[in-house]
Amino acid sequence: MSLFSMMGALEIGLIFSLVALGVLISFRILNFPDLTVDGSFALGGAVAATLIAGGTNPFAATLAAMAAGALAGFITGWLNVRLKIMDLLASILMMIALYSVNLRVMGAPNVPLITSPTVFTMILPENAPSWLPDFVLRPLLLLAVVVVVKLGLDYFFSSQQGLAMRSTGANSRMARAQGVNTGHEILAGMALSNALVALAGALFAQSQGGADISMGIGTIVIGLAAVIIGETILPARRLILTTLAVVVGAVLYRFFIALALNSDFIGLKAQDLNLVTALLVAVALVLPATRRKLFARKNGGA
């Protein structure tokens, strides 16, 4: 694998670590199986790309994309909390609704951003020095974004408000007995989660040169894969370590994929991506149990 494709994998891995952090909030902290993610990732890309193509400042467009994602997550939560629709079903409804919304937003199946300015072109120097080329600077910029988001989440979840949100997912009856409005916590958590996913979508569209209606397909699986790989590699009780594990998981996942697709001797091609993903997640799910069994055998008789 060349340095160039490694940096490319790092770049996309870092973008998807934002998805993974969002999925961590819905699936793990709120205990809310949320498939809205497939729609809100594309929504983030669609909103950002359409606005930028229309001449809006890329930073404002990215913020708008986050707001749109937050709204989508809020509606999913609202369907569940107020209308009492089962959580998984509510998120599926929102996911397919967003497909139409995204087509409406873009007005076409895709919006190219080849020549438009992006957050990357605005921050990074026009003519990068040869010792620090563009394909190294971009992952660095994304790393800074991911670190800020991770630390922000760590802070939030150790605050009084964040603790209330965690208790909502962990034991909602107890949370209510402590005066936590669990309905509001779910709405806020879902909005936060999908805002992060939409941010990832907006950055993805700007990094890959455009938004596409199908860009969101399978996002939830990648997010979950990152969470599961992270938790497998770095099993931790403390949330600060779990958020780190999830970021590492997302980057590793991209590396595995790049490795699999770049190794000519295996003979895998780009169209095998989803098959490789499914295999990888299956392995990550089975790994902890297998490891326990192996260790038990080693200490056998004890």
């Binding site: 939030f156 603790l163 965690r166 208790s167 005066g179 009780r237």
Partner: protein, 264 residues
Amino acid sequence: MLSAKDLKITFNPGTPIENRALRGMSLEIPTGQFVTVIGSNGAGKSTFLNAISGDLSVDSGTISIDGNDVTKKTAWQRASQVARVFQDPMAGTCEALTIEENMALAVKRGERRSFRFALNRSLRERFREKLSLLNLGLENRLSDRIGLLSGGQRQAVSLLMASLQPSRILLLDEHTAALDPKTASFVLELTARIVQESKLTAMMVTHSMRQALDYGDRTVMLHQGRVVLDVSGEARKGLDVPDLLQMFERTRGEQLDDDALLLS
């Protein structure tokens, strides 16, 4: 003061499994009183408690705390006035959170929660001090997940958590039922101590007539969703389980046939 007037709750109305759990239940508990509530299975004990806490909404009747009507308030809105300890040790605490995080949740019960850190040095010091009163060594395990504790330890911590914030009434829902006899009596003694020290108004639901008579200032017996016996003061002193049974039979004209109630 807690006042419940003519509470009615029917589960699955209009179906073959219709269950009139509360049929005009009324009870007044003056401030500072510790009431024990007994009754056989299906008498409406837990339903009554859940109605007071707001987990269940009543079909009719009113509930007021210190003169404020809270009938229409949700469980989380009542949390500033109502503290509770659940029957299931798992239910009262967050398994995945640490001891100190659980206590930090409880210390803000019914208050506005801010974006400030939930834990700080002075809070930890306060928690450590409270936990050391239990003599369970928990003061050195603040950052352990509460899921690692035994059922009895978790109930003891739940009790502490309930007393971290002032409340108008403390609800104890058979909170020793899931514990072994030795642990149960430890938790009961702790309950009596906390209620007395903080001068709490409390209502303890129990399955055991013995416990009901040994603890508190007043004993209320429920049957078919109503209060059928209410003894306190001098009349209650020296009362024994057989006396209670006799009184029950006299008022109801029927035999009590719940073995669990008689044997425990």
